[in-house]
């Protein structure tokens, strides 16, 4: 009886292992941050090049392959044919540099519309596959806590709050791509800004009692938040 149960458990483990191996290796596994090419010959992978890209909540690994990328946004895309063991096997380049321009670390979306990225074999002799990205202009900007929680507009002196700005399209959906954000405190003696640069992520610190306005801008759109430190 005990031997039968043991054998049955072993068989279960073997079957589970087989399913995992088949699911991740043999059956053209596609991760959340990947998308099958339009020709179905392999998969494209999106990677953030700047912290604060809406596609990446933590590291530079995208949570999902984005539906829309902001005009002006920086990003990277690599390609892996089904029969290649590693990503980056095919070279990826835009069809038209008036839509997407290559940068040192990836690509920059330049104007609204659908834009194809081609994956060629390493000898550049033929096209392996391609993908179309939707590039959308920024229509608004929103600010939340770094983990998506609402902004706390009242801070104590010495208290730090981690903020995240998001570029939105005209349907109020977050746009992907690393953008250059402007952060400005109307009164740094009341509300001080951290030194995280022009990314979507910023720390604000309550310094002394008083009121201050935080001005956050991206691509000609801005939002003002009224902070009280007490």
């Amino acid at each position: 009886m005990g031997r039968t149960r043991k054998a049955s458990r072993k068989a279960g483990v073997a079957l589970t292992s087989l399913i995992i191996v088949a699911g991740t290796a043999g059956c053209n596994y596609v991760g959340a941050n990947e998308k099958v090419g339009d020709l179905g010959e392999g998969k494209f992978k999106y990677t953030c090049v700047e912290a604060g890209d809406a596609a990446c909540s933590g590291s530079l690994t995208a949570d999902a392959f984005p539906k829309r990328i902001a005009v002006g946004g920086l990003f990277d895309v690599s390609y892996q044919p089904w029969n290649a063991p590693n990503p980056g096997t095919g070279t990826v380049s835009p069809v038209s540099e008036s839509f997407i321009e290559p940068t040192g670390s990836g690509f920059r979306a330049k104007k609204p519309g659908f834009a194809a990225l081609l994956a060629r074999d390493t000898s550049n002799s033929h096209v392996l596959d391609f993908i179309h990205l939707e590039l959308t202009p920024v229509a608004d900007v929103d600010v939340s806590g770094a983990t998506g929680t609402p902004v706390s507009l009242v801070l104590a002196p010495g208290e730090t709050q981690h903020l995240r700005a998001k570029a939105l399209d005209d349907q109020s959906q977050a746009l992907s791509g690393g953008l250059s954000y402007g952060w400005q405190s109307s009164d740094p003696s009341v509300l001080e800004l951290g030194l995280t640069g022009k990314t979507a992520l910023m720390d604000v610190v309550g310094v002394a009692a008083g009121n201050a306005t935080l001005h956050v801008s991206v691509a000609e759109h801005a939002v003002d938040l009224q902070f009280t430190v007490k």
């Binding site: 339009d38 020709l39 010959e41 069809v95 038209s96 008036s98 839509f99 519309g113 659908f114 834009a115 194809a116 081609l118 060629r120 002799s125 033929h126 096209v127 392996l128 596959d129 391609f130 179309h132 939707e134």
Partner: protein, 131 residues
């Protein structure tokens, strides 16, 4: 009385006429492209037998063969863009497939050859906002 030279000239003229009129072969000329298995395109992509219209910025794949004036099919082909700054044409992932890319707005043509030159088709790349 005809001289020998004159007789030769007459004979040569006769031969040339016979060669031109009787023995002239009807060389087939390029008819049109036969386009199949066109991939999905999110913007304008009309691949017609004698003309291609494509939106700037997008790519489309198709299986392409050529048909001459007598209905003979030519395959494999070689397609060459006459202005790669407007449209790019590159071999695709499978035999006989080609990828057309709208590089910039403008008009040009694609030369079609299949061993020897066959002909050409016109191409127009149009703006996505104005399509």
């Amino acid at each position: 009385m005809m001289t020998t030279h004159f007789r030769f000239a007459l004979l040569a003229a006769g031969c040339m006429l016979a060669n031109g009129c009787i023995f002239q072969r009807d060389e087939p000329s390029f008819g049109h492209l036969d386009i199949a298995d066109v991939s999905y395109a999110p913007a304008k992509a009309d691949l017609e037998p004698n003309h291609v219209t494509l939106a700037e910025g997008i790519a489309v794949k198709a299986h392409v063969s050529a048909v001459d004036s007598q209905g003979a099919v030519y395959e494999p082909l070689h397609l060459t863009s006459m202005d790669p700054q407007i449209v790019a044409v590159e071999p695709g992932p499978t035999a006989g497939s080609w990828v057309f890319s709208g590089v910039a707005v403008g008009k040009t043509s694609i030369r079609v050859s299949g061993g020897g030159p066959l002909g050409s088709v016109g191409v127009e790349v149009v703006s996505q906002s104005g399509q």
